[in-house]
Amino acid sequence: MTASKKILLVDDDRFMLELTARALEKEGFFCHKALSALEGLEILAQSLPDIILSDYDMPGLNGFDFRQRVLSDPKLKNIPFVFLTSFTDEDLMIKGLDLQAVDYITKNTPLAVIVSKLNNLLSTVREEHQRSLQELRKTAEALNLRSVPVKAPVIGGVKIDFLHHPFQNYPGGDFIDFIVVDNSFTFCILGDVMGKKWGAWFFSFNFLSYIRSAVRLCVFEGDLSTASILRKINKVIYLDPVLSDVFSTVSLIRIEHATGNILYSGAGDLPLIRYRADLDETSRLTSSGLLLGLFPDGKYDEAGVTMSKGDKLIMISDGMIDYEDEVGKKSDFQLFYNSVLPVIGQENAFERIKAATFAENTEKVQVDDCSMIFFEIK
């Protein structure tokens, strides 16, 4: 899918506004049109464009005032801003008004040139942005900060696959980990720190560290119960002032290597989807546990599942059930479940589920981090 190109056009000249909008729409831009700076600000309060093109000379709030208002709002100030000016206006602005506009376009510029200039600007901004993200990611990797492993562990009788799509390429709040204990058990963790992008990503490391140490400590003490691991994690997180305001869901399962049998506990997570090969039957596996860090007692329970050859299990984060259609955004677990139903019993079910759901359609419908872990008994 091509990247979105939302533009806000502000011009008191209705004719110019429509003309520019039409030329831009032909080039795939989605235009919001405002006949005054005030109208523009109203639109900005509702929806954030990728770029703003504003006339300078307007009655009431002029382009200069508009720019200053935009600059004073932290949510808006980084949106690339282009002025449409006449020559005299440009002189005025160059005289030291610090408007931090990305560019100026003079009014007699042919429309085709304006469109290509805006296109170029947007791709430059995007490339720059991707480069900075890349740098940050490299730094995080160099520090060994990973909230998702590179690959799944290989266990004798169980095939494990997972997918993780960050939201708009930002690192996000989903985290995944596999902890192999004494070659006899593997603990699989899928969590989702509530929030998006950097904030959630940062806290996902705190949660992961707690979970990793809780698993290890419980194992040392001979306690292999997933519910008691979650109880311990919850107690610590509840008391940690750094995390007092941050919450996370977690699905935790323990796989016994010898049998493939599973023990599951959840904290505010979505149901797991279980497939039984002998009955060709799909069902939900639910838990009663609450979000980590919310109450001193999170009511964690555990469910044991006997697994046989061909049985499958799916864990997902909420990004997998969020999607966007013409009407707007939605969260719909049942829709995901229904799209999994026809393919989960088949060969290469993981690949088929990816194809059948929107998991692979990243930016088009994705509105949050998407993660899924898939287990199959060989």
Binding site: K75, M194, G195, V246, L291, L294, D322, G328, K329, K330
Partner: protein, 104 residues
């Protein structure tokens, strides 16, 4: 973002939003905390206009509840649409917040 109205022994905080997401979460939390700070014992957040809630916004709601509880207050929700109601049930938010179908 929220419109506050006192009704008998509780306060209704109506969300003036179609999409309750990350961008709105911080401001919502700030405004709701102001209502909590006024000492109301029961606050009902009205989702009538809300079509979609993301996890950041839910986080803000949950964190407001945690704050309210330290002051002996409670937060409930009302008028969840079908999708949001299902989501609340799926992730056990219905055990955290009292969900009203209509205002009591």
């Amino acid at each position: 973002m929220i419109q506050v109205k006192e009704l008998g022994d509780y306060v209704v905080a109506s969300l003036k939003l179609k999409e309750a997401n990350l961008t709105e979460a911080e401001r919502f939390k700030k405004e709701l905390m102001e209502v909590i700070d006024q000492g109301h014992k029961k606050i009902i957040v009205d989702f009538e206009q809300v079509m979609y809630v993301d996890s950041s916004f839910l986080g803000a709601l949950v964190s407001s509840l945690k704050y309210a509880m330290t002051l002996g207050s409670d937060i409930a929700v009302v008028h969840l649409n079908k999708d949001i109601f299902n989501l609340f049930q799926l992730i056990r938010m219905d055990k955290v917040f009292h969900i009203y179908k209509t205002l009591p």
